[in-house]
């Protein structure tokens, strides 16, 4: 963790609101995207991001600033996302498929298609596989960082990634996106 982030966390722990605002600014986008890829719903991702920051704020005094903050807050987000997914019901009327906020010019069409395809495929993965794909490929965490965030050994991270990709290939092949 960078020294300036550690300083920010220490300041926030002492009640410096500006410091926590800086932490929010730093992690808002990445946490929103983590939630979005896990639950595939922008509104839910928005709610989850808000919830996670509140929980992080409430628990901040107990947080050891010498530990990696991102892995701590990502862990909170993953738990919250899994909780939400476990509460979802098939008939839930508020659950809406993720919609692109972009307008639909031609140059955006391909991108939207790729996003829809990949998102649809990763939603077919079980949650442990989905979370490793999201952390590695969308948030660009290293195996070590994933190990911290998921609280599993690096060896397990690697093995889970391998299995997740195997399944992803199968799903994408079935969808006609990749070919053997």
């Amino acid at each position: 963790m960078a020294a300036n982030e550690r300083a920010l966390i220490r300041s926030a722990q002492r009640g410096d609101a500006k410091a926590f605002e800086a932490i929010v600014a730093r992690y808002e986008r990445v946490l929103f995207n983590l939630a979005l890829r896990m639950v595939n719903d922008r509104e839910d991702a928005r709610d989850l991001t808000q919830t996670v920051f509140v929980k992080a704020y409430q628990r901040l005094p107990a947080f050891d600033p010498d530990r990696p903050f991102f892995s701590w807050v990502y862990r909170i987000m993953i738990n919250e996302s899994l909780n939400l997914l476990s509460r979802r019901r098939p008939m839930e009327p508020l659950a809406e498929q993720m919609e692109s906020v972009e307008p639909s010019p031609e140059e955006c069409f391909e991108r939207a298609r790729v996003v829809d395809t990949v998102q649809g495929a990763i939603m077919e993965l079980s949650e442990p596989y989905r979370e490793v794909i999201v952390l590695r490929h969308f948030l660009n965490l290293s195996h070590r960082e994933m190990s911290d965030a998921l609280r599993v050994p690096e060896k397990t991270v690697k093995s889970r990634l391998y299995s997740a990709r195997q399944r992803l290939v199968t799903v994408l092949r079935r969808r006609g996106v990749v070919h053997a």
Binding site: F20, E21, F32, R46, Q50, V54, R111, V114, I133, V177
Partner: protein, 262 residues
């Protein structure tokens, strides 16, 4: 090299975690094994596809929502050290505005909608006595969807958040209840100033409505989205009373749309 070992090696190389020796080993193998080359191309295609998924921008109002939620959290729980000063200034930004005069025609419309909402009633377990929370709805600052306020109330075994938004017309009230036991929420408002247009919920729930009052029952974790139609320019009050068998809590929200939320 068996197929699983080869596959893991491909993963490591594509993932950037292989040693130079491992990369060289894979390259040598691919030169002599067409099936492995095909599989490698396939796996490479998946990596490339994943890399093409961009990070999305969060909704622009999210930062404000987080700030408001933190302010609400400070009131409910209080930070372990001390409340940040900016939450106090945010609270000071909310000022009550005078309401509208009566409008009998509007009240009739409200009654009609309330009757329609009544038709949606679904049954659930009995509600228990308990806890009050209040909010104020008001015209927002201009914008595609303006967050008006958000609060969180917590009692043993239950958490409740309420958010008011406005995206043109109508106003929207969003409620999220997380509770281990049956919970009841009662919304009260002036039927001559506000009318419920629509109610959505995330799980089977009990909904009763009469002019000026909506009662919502929830078994455990339920989200509600209520659309309100307001008449005229000034603000309109809405209070929400939460009842849980395990306790009660009260929040009062006062908002004026002219005050921008930082």
């Amino acid at each position: 090299m068996n197929s699983e070992t080869l596959e893991r090696l491909m993963n490591d190389v594509l993932d950037g975690v292989a040693t130079p020796e491992e990369r060289a080993l894979l390259e040598r193998h691919l030169e002599t094994d067409p099936a492995a080359r095909a599989r490698h191309r396939e796996l490479q295609g998946v990596f490339e596809l994943l890399a093409r998924v961009p990070m999305e921008d969060p909704p622009p109002e999210l930062r404000t929502e987080v700030s408001l939620a933190l302010a609400a959290s400070s009131r409910t729980h209080g930070p372990a050290r001390r409340a940040p000063a900016w939450t106090e200034s945010m609270r000071a930004a909310f000022v009550r505005r005078p309401g509208l005069g009566a409008a009998s025609a509007f009240a009739a419309g409200a009654l009609a909608v309330a009757i329609a909402v009544l038709a949606l009633t679904r049954s659930l377990g009995p509600a228990a006595p308990g806890l009050p929370v209040s909010g104020t709805m008001a015209r927002p600052a201009p914008g595609p969807e303006s967050l008006l306020d958000t609060r969180e109330a917590r009692v043993e075994g239950a958490t409740f958040t309420i958010t008011t938004r406005r995206g043109g017309d109508p106003w929207t009230v969003e409620l999220a209840v997380r509770a281990a036991a049956p919970t009841e929420i009662e919304l009260e408002f002036d039927p001559e100033r506000l009318a419920v247009e629509d109610v959505h919920w995330s799980a089977p729930a009990e909904v009763h409505a009469t002019p000026g009052r909506v009662r919502l029952g929830a078994g455990a974790d339920v989200r509600y989205r209520l659309a309100f139609r307001a008449r005229g320019e000034p603000s309109a009050d809405l209070s929400a009373t939460l009842r849980s068998g395990k306790g009660s809590a009260k929040e009062v929200l006062r908002m004026t749309p002219g005050n921008s939320i930082p």
